[in-house]
Symmetry: C2
């Protein structure tokens, strides 16, 4: 067994439903990791301080004084301490300037701010910005101009230009799917069978049918199509489990249809100026998006996973909490 | 007190959550009415037969042999007996031909079929067709060409031409609103305050803001706007109760935006050929739709309420269950 490497930073991804901790080396490499279900709405007895000690206490006992960064909902209004959003355009330097320190009871924690886009239709994110910063650190060619897509409950599409997040948009796609599956008439047939439409095994054809219907709806969108997830079941075209994959296709398809409509050249609607798209996050979900994008003629879409730890390290670096790695032999 | 008039028909509107009974005179006029919470998912002990006796037994004791018509989910796969849908184009004669009789234990019930629209994106309705048939009987001028809108959990838009329902579309608007209010992050602030956004008192400005945002989204639609119902709260622009009216405006606005996009002349997208629109149903909900339609420049929209009983009578007439009214003095 190798001697343990000297860590340089502890990074926390502290969201609503989970707490992930990363022990990072002097070049941002992952040395160790922990995960607990202690999201800010599921704290253990003893609250935030106990959760922090539980997940990072051993590391701090062994390497006292390690700097600690925490991103995500822990810095929200309902979190440990509220951290003001940083306005877009944002980059690691502006994010690092917004860090807020907190005495955890066993050392200082630097809370990372989320991002805000102002204007008449504002938008916010907390936590996803670490995945974005990490992706740009992992693949510096993306920094010049790219469109980063982070599928999930609240899917984010972030436009990056010259190393800065210039704007972003949140889509409720994941939450809409879960709600329609669990609480609407559409999900009822599958629920009665115990089908869930999660995991890598899914009905490719039903999903693609949904994506295609959304695409072909043009400017009309899927408002008049959602109910077909029920009527195609009632008419025997889709089985109960297929209705969920079809619904997933409709919703992901609508998200992409909407983005493509927004990218279209107003003067020549058929001309879409689409920068390089990169998917970030869970590979299974990213695969669905890749399939759907391909239906829209957007191919060669790259996917990156686990970029968040490197994003935390990059912010630590920008804040001067970690030294630039010396060129050691 | 006047002597009770001689009734000609008992009509039932038997849905998922309620059972409404109407005692109708020889010209379809309402003589008496009952309502119980015995929808097909909330039957009393004794099931369908007990519910039927409970709601109509006294009328049948007093006027034995009165014909009985029942429309709605009672004729669905999960109802008392399944009644096959009638294909569009449909009119009272084709609906009457599809009646299915059932021995209730205290007399025959004629179950009214719902409507189906075929094709690659099928659609179905059960119960709403009685409101449509009733509206055409109440205002025969609508029969030539009109667009009937039935707001609700599953809002229906039905195109009527020459007395027939030629096609229709279901929008999940009401169900989406309830789900987002009750089960999503968007509804959380209002829920914590106990606000519900039901009833006639609502924030006109917040609702209109939502409608306008949907309208101005053009071909993009509201996919990237739904989350603003949260971000406008987080940024202090909307109060917690206002988020619900704004959300309602977004969803109703998206429905209308979608319909208008579908009506647009493909060759000249600015030219919309819109037939006379009539709203059917709950006046409070119809008023929201009227306000939203007005934002889209569609004014002078008429609203009719309680057209279902006359629809049942009209089907009874078409089926020969009630005689044409004699010209009595």
């Amino acid at each position: 067994m190798n001697a343990p490497r000297q860590p340089a930073l502890i990074g926390l991804d502290w969201g609503t439903s989970s707490l992930r901790a990363y022990l990072l080396g002097p070049q941002g490499e992952l040395i160790d990791r922990r995960a607990e279900g202690w999201g800010i709405q599921h704290l253990p007895a003893g609250g935030y301080a106990a959760a922090f000690r539980g997940v990072a206490g051993e590391w701090l006992d062994r390497w006292p004084g390690l700097p600690v960064l925490a991103a995500g909902m822990v810095g929200s209004r309902n979190g440990w301490r509220e951290v003001s959003y940083i306005e877009c355009p944002a980059d690691p330097a502006s994010i690092a300037k917004g860090l807020v320190t907190l005495d955890s009871g066993c050392g200082t924690i630097h809370l990372v701010p989320g991002l805000m886009q102002g204007g008449p239709l504002p938008d916010v994110m907390r936590g996803e910005e670490m995945q974005i910063v990490g992706a740009l650190a992992m693949q510096p060619t993306l920094a010049e101009r790219s469109l980063l897509v982070l599928p999930g409950t609240h899917c984010k599409w972030a436009v990056v230009e010259r190393g800065r997040v210039v704007r972003f948009t949140t889509y409720l796609t994941g939450e809409l799917f879960a709600m329609l599956r669990d609480h609407s008439i559409i999900g009822r047939p599958a629920k009665e069978m115990g089908a869930t439409a999660t995991g890598p095994d899914f009905d490719h054809e039903a999903f693609t049918r949904g994506v295609r219907s959304a695409q072909e709806s043009g400017a009309v969108g899927i408002a008049p199509l959602l109910f077909t997830a029920r009527s195609l079941f009632l008419t025997g075209v889709l089985t109960a489990p297929q209705t969920l994959d079809y619904l997933s296709g409709l919703l992901v398809g609508e998200e992409i249809r909407s983005v493509v409509a927004g990218l279209a050249d107003a003067a020549r609607p058929a001309t879409v100026h689409c920068p390089a798209i990169v998917l970030l996050g869970d590979p299974t979900l990213c695969n669905r998006y890749r399939l759907a994008l391909s239906q829209f003629g957007i191919d060669d879409v790259q996917a990156l996973n686990e970029t968040g730890p490197l994003g935390l390290w990059r912010i630590g670096e920008a804040a001067g909490l970690v030294a630039d790695a010396p060129d050691t032999i």
